[in-house]
Subunit: 389 residues, 4 copies
């Protein structure tokens, strides 16, 4: 039987657009996908860069008019890979036109937008997904399996950090990531959301948060061409113009989660020495796990072994065995995968769900719940109060 075809429009041709395009190519070429895919249209605002990206990444068409694209009948699915302030409008339009939607994280910059998106997705019956890609690192899925099988027992504590250091230098220019109007928040929306989602995935729902935020560098040089939109960290600063940072450089949170779990969380761009340390530790009465994105292929697992206490220890599982999640598609055991495969796994599962008319997690409702936690954290940090969810 012929495999069905899913025709895709990708909105965004900057860094995230590149990663998503690469992921589409990987799922087609290397994974056993239950459908064929057509890289139909790549959308963006800069016609020249867009054309170049279209050719390099193998998209059939390019368009600067996303509204027209999401309305087309020959598009089945829309992938939104632009900054958070544009998510809601695009996603709502795409859903209104009956498209399946994959939306980058965080789902939206405001709780209202997120709510509208989740409502629309629920009403649409289409397959909606939010791009918390780190859920799909093989080691993280393995952690979920261990927890589901009860190997950690009753959970007590979770400890999560996302530590980066690229903002330490005060000469790092005021790109969109420092601009609340575009990014929604700083380390909170950019980094902590990943930790929050991973915690929801592995541990459960948040019930209460108490937070502090701080901005260490409040003025930064304006970039030469201050337009924003998805170009990663670096950039060229203008000679002498400075602008105000209105987002958090660090946000830290004390939380209570369902089942009485105690959580401590922190995201920062000022953790000198750490480049990408999304770390999660979960402790239960039968075991514990520990994950660090800088060593993405590894999961540390500790089993309580009451009968042989002298043999207990955190074991480093190199999650590259063919039986590890997704790893049958990649390399022989011990040959590690990179950051990019998390996007391939995400897209693989989204496309598979589309073909099978099933739900997939994390969906917009997950994105909304995560956003509700973000909102509570922002409120707590602003008002100095504990916020219940």
């Amino acid at each position: 039987m012929e495999k069905p075809t899913v025709r895709i429009a990708l909105i965004g041709h900057r860094f995230m657009g590149k990663l998503h395009s690469h992921a589409y190519n990987m799922v087609q070429q290397l994974m056993d996908l239950p459908c064929r895919i057509e890289l139909a249209v790549l959308c963006g605002r800069d016609p020249v860069a867009l054309k170049s990206a279209q050719n390099a990444w193998g998209w059939r068409e390019a368009s600067t008019d996303w509204r027209a694209v999401v309305a087309r009948n020959d598009i089945d699915a829309v992938d939104i890979a632009v900054p958070g302030n544009a998510h809601a409008e695009i996603a709502l339009a795409a859903l209104a036109h009956g498209k399946h939607v994959l939306c980058e994280k965080p789902l939206a910059n405001t709780l209202g937008d997120a709510q509208a998106m989740a409502d629309a997705a629920e009403a649409s019956g289409k397959v909606d997904m939010v791009g918390f890609n780190y859920r799909r690192a093989p080691a993280v899925v393995l952690a979920r399996h261990l927890i589901e099988e009860g190997l950690l027992g009753k959970l007590f504590q979770v400890r999560g950090t996302y530590l980066q250091d690229w903002a330490v230098d005060p000469q790092v220019p005021l790109t969109w990531r420092f601009d609340r109007a575009i990014a929604g928040s700083g380390s909170l929306g950019d980094l902590l959301t990943h930790v929050l989602d991973m915690t929801r995935y592995l541990v459960g729902e948040f019930e209460q948060v108490t937070a502090v935020s701080h901005t260490f560098v409040s003025q930064r040089p304006l970039p030469a061409n201050f337009s924003g939109a998805g170009l990663g960290h670096a950039g060229q600063a203008a000679a002498d113009a400075f602008g105000s940072v209105d987002v958090d450089d660090v946000t830290a949170v004390l939380a209570k989660l369902q089942g009485g779990v105690v959580g401590v969380f922190e995201a920062t761009r000022f953790a000198t020495g750490f480049k990408n340390a999304l770390c999660l530790e979960v402790h239960g009465d039968r075991g514990a796990i520990r994950f660090d994105l800088e060593r993405m292929n590894e999961l540390d697992y500790y089993a309580v072994e009451t009968a042989t206490p002298t043999r207990q220890g955190f074991r480093r599982i190199l999650a590259t065995h063919p039986d590890h999640p997704y790893m049958q598609y990649w390399w022989p055991e011990g040959h590690i995968v990179g950051y990019d495969v998390t996007f391939a796994h995400e897209i693989y599962d989204w496309l598979s769900a589309i073909v099978r008319s099933e739900r997939v997690a994390p969906d917009f409702m997950d994105g909304l719940r995560c956003q509700a936690v973000v909102d509570a954290i922002a409120t707590s940090a602003r008002d100095g109060v504990t916020v219940r969810l």
Copy 2:
């Protein structure tokens, strides 16, 4: 010239008494002490165990009457190694009799006691010290030196944990460590105080704290002989009697420190898989350090090297070089030292300060300041408010 002699009385013959005795023997035999010491009297409540300890550890006399001992003219210095609820009474009596005093941590179970002790010590002119021994791990002193030399630059963040897991099993009996009347608090006083002191030592004073505490196991079997007092973690549980835990199993804190430093702290006895993970990470604009007590001989140090960004990385310093703090007294490079040397270093510095009539840190004022932070944390956790110091 003959070295002066310091005549010592040690109050406490349980685990801490053993460690202190061992430390006295080490400083005498292995370090170049500016005085001779006399292990004059060992005090305790259990005459049989006391006698046995006296003989094993080399004390000239034993006594069950500490009041009489601290009043004796042939004693110069009193070392208090009993649980926190007895600290104030003994220390005040010893100071009143003109003795130098070394007191185990935490200084006291209440802020009032701590204040009285610090006042008395200040008035006495004697050499007072509180036993935050981990300050004197060579790697921690090295961290202090790096920070003092400016190698970390302006400090941004500190992250401290003290993770243990011995309380996870609900059958662990209700020893004194779970009893507020004796221990003052749980993970807060027992574990977090070490983190707080180390933070004060390396980073600076606390200005504000927001905390949560939680008790996971609220009923525990009573030990067969429920008397408490310093016997470590284990113990034999009575057949069927249970008692209530009235201390915290975990305490977590968000803090602001002087100079705008943001701190996140956590102490817990429920971090399955961790045995003694007193970890501290400090980030500044020129560098960072990282310490873990489970690997006490190591300090990770990261230097920002703007000109050669491709060579930056956390370096693992094995703090066993003869030029590392205190290490000229121990083994050849690469041959590690154990937990016990931190007590030898502490006692060495206390005795040296006595001989030289100098102050030594951490003194009772440090103990008081630490206790003030503990108090603020307890208040914050109880009332759900942020507390300024």
Copy 3:
């Protein structure tokens, strides 16, 4: 100006063919290549699997007749990704038809074949390369740069291992990797060659070797369909037929290298617990480096700092900074790359050399020199003598 086009034929559609195809797609889409490439023909022996591979990986044509393909005028470059016993015939034919050739490692199964290939390549004036892909892990190139800049000083010692454990189970069937006629040797040709090449790249030429080899499991079940050819480790064993292993499970070598460097090397498929530990340590009088393929994105670097001996330590460099070799093409700092990028880097450099009519290393001469060391090791292990090169 229009970029030139390089038209490629890939011989081999099994695991290595898949990896090379993926690499071509990556260099096209993600790297800034100085040419356009045409994935012209994919060659293989199994028509059905070949067709499926052709479609999945984006090759314009498929062919089961490699001889005809390498003779075609519309092919510029031939990439040989089949087991070692077929390398010489294909490479010699391709060179004879004036093609640039990239050949998987080891260059050949015999020294005679390797010599003939190197001679033909030298005579051809074409761009020849041998696929020692691990040279192009960013961390390994960084190690080379550190050594070239003199940061390790005069070199003393090198220590290299390639540790895997997939052969420990005696039920692992007798695939082609255990068959001397196809594979040439066992751990020696499959694994140690990578270590030898990396050593030549970082340290220098071998002058003398003394080796031992051993086979722990001499009989293995025949696979259900014993045909061999490149499908990774696993396979289904036939019910009851066994065959003899005639290759080495482990080979270990003591070596002297140019400049008086002492080397110790080992490759094994029986190192229970290790999955892919290609480790190299190089020590000089000014510094040292350490690499482990299981943590491919990291390089440990130690600098002798005579003036500050208390700050010395191996630093873990996460080789993901945009200034690290090749990393401008990949992800933001701290987001790791996988095993596959080493092939992309190799192919990128081969294609770039073709466009620029330059040599590239490692070329067939490097492959020959590596094979000469392999030959000397095999002789030494067989005859129990030290062999000079």
Copy 4:
């Protein structure tokens, strides 16, 4: 019942004498010894330093005449802690006078001496022991237990190194450790013997060795006072006099051991960056272990878990649980021990064996067997041949 008393004479008051003295004090004060001990006489050649050491370490008498001391009737046991060239004469005299003997490693500088010592010990019926103290690191004993219980299954391979770097600087003076007449050999006798003994303890007997040795720095400045004898690594160099190094800086060995185990070993003083890396890895068909003396409190253990291959990984066991070997005498779990406890454990076991009239391992026969391997390695390295044992 009164415990018997063992009266001890210690020969050697330099670094090893200090460590042994410290160990006697620890076993008395902190371990549950089945005897009382009397630190009767400390022997040495330098009367002033000897007197000072006697006082500091608690020895009742001091003597510069070891011959007289080992003949005394009020001495039960002789502990020899001087360089290897003096071992045989002292040990033979002590045994002849009916003393129990503990002798530092290596047992002797020549095989003949070692044989004579083992013969005399066997004939004496006294408790003889050789000081391979690292056997008694708790993690190493744990490794032995795991192997004895069959948890590693049939053994395949062992890989051992002892890496230090203190000799890299050519200005390090020509102390006794570079003098064959005193030390017997260089890295071979000083470092590799520890690896060989640990291998014999954990894996089994050596059957065949092939070795290379090399000296990187052949001339070194003479120390200001070139007398030798046990003072560790450093020393002050004379202004301009140089002398020849006649020992090995590095020795590497390929070996076959009983049961078909393949071994690769290396000891070096030129491994820049490593301070004390005595590492041992043992692989069997059911598991593996890994030990590194720089992290002496840890043992890595890997269990083959065929049914759950996705959970396999090297676990880091922190060997500080009260059930770990010897750890009931030390600190609470997670509080590490130092290098010095290995001597305490050794002396504890020697004294216990004396009291119980039992043998203890490693005895002089073990020392002899180790020396036979050393001899075979030296022969192999000198003559370029494989030597069978």
